[in-house]
Structure formats: structure tokens, C-alpha cells
Symmetry: C2
Subunit: 199 residues, 2 copies
């Protein structure tokens, strides 16, 4: 393919490359059990979480939260998805792979535009702004909701206990929104209580 202007050509090349995020599979299964979720549809779902749960994050710029969530997994095109509950992860190696991915992928765009999107990803990763904290919290909340809807999901796959769920998901979700975490806590407690009752 050729295109008339160099800037437009680079934008279209980047958008064509994004196609590959539809083939990056995550650990979460779809609720209907038919297959695993991919990172592109996960990103859409999270952007909808931001639109719909905005009332639980007063003062947060929801438009920027949506942008953070749209780009937050793009590095996985090169670096792959790292399961959240996987033990023994080499965090330095993962960060190195994701940084190299960000340099290549955002480098496809015209300079300032690539830098703007890269800055959004850096902001998400740093989780220091209210927008990034809300985005990170939603990224933890969505798999919790999927696991509850599939009666265990990846918690069963990785033998994750109630205490581990509370310890790993609590801080990011509560940091995003105390009332979202209060609701999630009730749902998580009820799920594991029902499990114990069945055992």
C-alpha cells in the first residue's frame, strides 16, 4: 500500500499494526466459555467501564481515562500478555520487553503523535495521576467481574485464594474508587462463601 502524505501513511501503518492486538489472548475466558478474551476487545470493554462507572470517580477526567485504557495494552502486540496471577514473574525482563515494544510501535507514528500516545501509556503504567489510578483500578475490576460471572474463572486456573484476591485486587481497585471496591468485596466474599458451602 502507498499513501499520499508521509504523515497519513504512517498513521495508517500504525492502525494496520494495531490489528494484531485482536490476536493477543488473555487468560480470562469469555463468560460463555467459548474462548479466551483478547486484548483488543478487553480494551473496548474497559473503555466502556470508564464511561459507565465515571460517577464513582468524581473529579476524574473520564475522556483521558478512556484514552489511557484504549492504549494500555498496545505493547502486548510485541511483548504478549502477562497473566496477572502468574507466580515468579521476571518483572525487569517484562518491563524491558514492553519498553522495546512501545519504542517500536509508537515509533510507527509521526514523532509528536507517537510521543503523545507513548506518554499516555507511561502515565497508565506509573499510576500516579487520578486518571491513571482509576484506569488501573478498572483494569483489575473487569477480570474480577468476569471471574464472578464464570464462577471462578482464572482464580480456579491459578488456584488463587480469597485472601490473595483481596490482597492483589484491593489496593488498586480501592485506590480507584472506594465504593467500587466495597461492592467488589461483597461480591468476592459471597463467591468464596458459596464455594465453601458447596465443598
Amino acid at each position: 500500500m502507498t499513501a499520499p502524505s508521509d504523515a497519513l501513511s504512517r498513521r495508517l501503518s500504525f492502525l494496520a499494526e494495531l490489528e494484531k492486538l485482536k490476536s493477543v489472548t488473555r487468560q480470562s475466558r469469555l463468560v460463555d466459555g467459548s474462548r479466551n478474551e483478547n486484548s483488543a476487545e478487553h480494551s473496548w470493554h474497559l473503555a466502556m467501564f470508564a464511561m459507565v462507572l465515571a460517577p464513582h470517580a468524581p473529579g476524574v477526567d473520564v475522556g483521558r481515562v478512556i484514552e489511557l485504557l484504549l492504549v494500555h495494552d498496545i505493547v502486548e502486540i510485541d511483548a504478549g500478555d502477562v497473566p496477572y496471577h502468574l507466580a515468579g514473574k521476571d518483572l525487569a525482563k517484562i518491563a524491558e520487553a514492553e519498553n522495546a515494544a512501545a519504542a517500536r510501535l509508537y515509533g510507527l507514528l509521526p514523532g509528536a503523535e507517537g510521543q503523545r500516545l507513548r506518554a499516555l501509556w507511561d502515565e497508565f503504567e506509573a499510576a500516579e495521576t487520578p486518571e491513571a489510578r482509576f484506569a488501573k483500578g478498572l483494569d483489575r475490576l473487569q477480570p474480577v467481574l468476569l471471574n464472578l460471572m464464570t464462577d471462578g474463572g482464572t482464580w480456579d486456573d491459578f488456584a488463587v485464594t480469597e485472601e490473595q484476591v483481596m490482597a492483589r485486587c484491593g489496593p488498586p481497585i480501592e485506590g480507584a474508587s472506594p465504593d467500587l471496591w466495597a461492592a467488589a468485596t461483597d461480591l468476592i466474599r459471597a463467591h468464596f462463601a458459596a464455594r465453601r458451602a458447596d465443598a
Copy 2:
């Protein structure tokens, strides 16, 4: 699942229902040929088109374009995807099914919030605001790009000619952005010219 406040419970129910858009399949194949695209990942891809191609729509509120694109296919959860190049479509029946879908799905949310999202979908469908026209144009441009990347794609499936592509995709894409349509025209002409040269 139960949740503490009625409003939060309704928001979570709506987000859980959105899960189903990941299982609505479109006619377009992924570029790697592995399967058909679904409407959730398509919606993410389009939101990225809006972020990246914003320089081609000066004066347009890109944040609202992104919101329009995130919600534009949600009615397909009930009404299904209607192939763009399918002949003999019953447009009144499709509109009826999509309106019923919008009433049910957006009705899951608390009143004013459901009405706000429903209004975004109505705005997209009406294609009268600059934001909706840009969103509609991107929704036409993305399948064109996928078809070019797969050397024909749905154009071959539906025996669509160069003249039909130009007639069907030209007005919405040119209405969104003349320079995007100029670029797309070059790419479409080159694709069909190469086809003729191979024949």
C-alpha cells in the same frame, strides 16, 4: 450477584451484558485470516482510528467521536451485525430491531445515564453532527483498510466491484475527511488495477 447500591448494581449489570458484543461476528476477517472480526474489538480499533486520525478532522471533538464509536455497535448484542454489502436488506425491519435493542440495553442503566448513551447512538445513526460524520466515515474506512490488507476480503465475498466500493464508501468517508478519502481512493484504485493486471 448482588451489589450495594441499586445504581451501581445496574451499571455492573450493563457492563456484564456488554460482554456479549465480543461474540457478535462481523463479515470482515482478521488480517491473519484466522477468524472473523467481532464487534467489540472492531469498536476498539475504530476508537484508535479516531485518536490517530484526528489531525484529518480539524475542529471535531475527538473525545465525543471516541464515545460515539465505543457505543455505536452495542445494539448488535440483540439485533446482530448487518453486512454492509449485503443486497436486499429490509432497512425498516433492521431499524425496528435496533431500536428495540437500544431500549432494552440502555434501559439496564439508571435512567439519565442510559439516556445519555442512547443519545450518543442516536447521534451516530443520524450522522448530522461533525463528530457523527467523522465517526461514520471511520466506520467505513476501517473495513476498506482490512479489505486492502487481505487482498479483497469482503469485497470478494460479496462480489463487490470497484465502482460499488467508490459509490458506497465515497460519500461517508469524504464527508468525514476529504484527505482520508483521497488517500483511500488511491489505495482502492491501486488494488483493483492490480487485480485487473493479474486477470
